[in-house]
Point group: C2
């Protein structure tokens, strides 16, 4: 295989292999529970499910790029993955999901109770890990990210099924559900490395823009990808009556008749055969998919621009390619 | 009203009135959310529901008794109440409860989704509050308490419906669901005050024993109290097939025929008319209620003994009376 043809997260993974081994060891150690065997059962299902470990890699890359050679980037990378896994467990309960990464969800295999409580357990374990770094600024960043995540999730819950949801609310939801953890992941890598303020801000801006691009692409693929690519079913967001960017754009441009359609399927939840196809036709008619794709590209460009403030390091090139790769999923 | 006849938590509340006002103000400020109006709706329902605010009072009392005169005992008291409220929200989802403190639960008034996510939000807000104290030892104590709480909840989930649950497992569950937060509440009060190690350990021991006594009494009242006193229905634990101390003791002493009864109602969950009455008759036959009551009294005695290491302060007398009061609920 040619190095240049590897996906950027594979190149990051290869470059950071020793660090990632340490992260995986720490994750396995800390997800265990002496007293409650249900905990490692549930966490193993998720943690071992072959996620890309994108978020912990961002932390490791940021710390290494800023010249860190202490031990705590590993704790922070594991912290970020635990927070991510905890939110997945709770999300699947809230969304009543049956599939995640192409496998049955924990709430389906065990029950909602286990997903709620094991999520709480992982969140508290993440909290222990970050306290071990002894770095109060890192704790502050991760505490704020946690609050933004939780707030974004509640906002998404109330914004769903509500056609008044606009692009501003959408962006807040996206920052909460995705970008807050991406930006915290990169920022704490810089902070633990003692990087200058300007670089810490740049790392935050990169993670924020990358996370937004990532989520917009995810929302777009829900109307255009295949189950094999996205690990869930096309139209899930439509069936869950979520107001994502493509639909928000189509609703904003809707005729009176089209609006009646959206009111019926999204607000009233009266969906039948052919409605998903009709929704996709309306998205196409108003160029909503192209416009959404352009926004994802703009956020990827913003992410790459933020990197220019950072040291000229091999990892910087990989992070830049990663921003391109995230939107290349659309091809 | 004679001072001496007031309940100890009312005397604590009067003594700590100014501090408690500051705690309540901080709680109201931090439970709000600019973006997601569902959050203050749900939290107000719980936070304003007239709970006794026992846990934050423990933190304030511990800090004041150890001579603290800084501002952060207020943050820690609010932290502890937020963690408590977050666990109540998640507990009610897990237990599918319909009533809490004599009012309908949030999961019934809104939905399980809101309870899960608003619980997460309060937990992350508690995390922000404690980070503001800038005290890493306090963060360590609260992180460990959070992990113990979550682990205890999962353990309770798997121990329910399992007749092999013994008194050792029960104690672990009780430490998780109740005593871990009580002991963290008192311990962080001492730590923030810079109290000597011996006093910090005593505060932890007091909170631990008080919490265990409190929970044993709660579990006992489920088989003997009235709805007016306990704010829930008698027999809830029985219907939820929870192995609490009275049942564990009765199962340990059961004849073959009695054991078949417990297998049917707890393990198989086949419950019908007269089964709760039959269970109560078996508890009485084996003296399980008296034995449970004696354990609660022993833990209250242990709590009072721990206080002797602490400064001879007006608050110390109230905390001692509080330990008596907790078990006096049984009369």
């Amino acid at each position: 295989m040619f190095e240049a043809r590897q996906a950027p997260h594979d190149r990051l993974g290869a470059h950071l292999a020793a660090d990632m081994d340490a992260v995986n060891t720490l994750i396995r150690l800390r997800m265990a529970s002496e007293h409650a065997p249900r905990i490692p059962e549930v966490t193993a299902h998720l943690v071992e499910a072959g996620g890309k470990r994108l978020r912990p890699m961002l932390t490791l890359a940021a710390a290494r790029m800023c010249g860190y050679d202490g031990p705590y980037h590993v704790h922070l990378a594991a912290t970020v993955e635990f927070i991510h896994t905890a939110t997945l467990l709770h999300d699947d309960v809230v969304d009543e999901s049956a599939q995640r990464r192409g496998r049955p969800t924990a709430n389906l295999l065990w029950d909602n109770k286990s997903s709620v409580l094991v999520g709480d357990y992982l969140f508290s374990r993440s909290f222990q890990l970050m306290v071990e770094t002894g770095n109060l600024r890192v704790l502050d960043i991760l505490a704020n990210a946690s609050a933004t995540i939780a707030e974004g999730e509640v906002l998404q819950l109330t914004a769903a099924q509500d056609l008044r949801t606009d692009e501003g609310i959408y962006l807040k939801v996206v920052r909460g559900k995705t970008a807050a953890l991406f930006s915290a992941a990169t920022e704490v890598g810089g902070v633990i490395a003692g990087a200058p303020e300007e670089q810490v801000r740049a790392l935050h801006a990169y993670g924020d823009a990358l996370g937004i691009a990532f989520q917009i692409v995810d929302d777009l693929l829900d109307y255009g990808g295949t189950t094999a690519v996205i690990g869930k079913n096309v139209g899930d967001d439509f069936r869950e009556r979520k107001l994502t960017l493509p639909v928000i754009k189509a609703v904003a441009a809707a005729s009176a008749e089209e609006r009646a359609f959206w009111v019926r399927v999204i607000e009233k939840g009266q969906q039948g055969t052919g409605d998903l196809e009709q929704a996709m036709a309306l998205l196409a008619r108003h160029g909503a998919l192209d416009a959404t794709r352009n926004e994802a590209l703009a956020w990827a460009t913003k992410a790459k621009a933020a990197l220019l403030t950072l040291p000229n390091h091999e990892l910087r090139g990989m992070l830049s390619d990663l921003a391109d790769y995230v939107v290349a999923r659309l091809n």
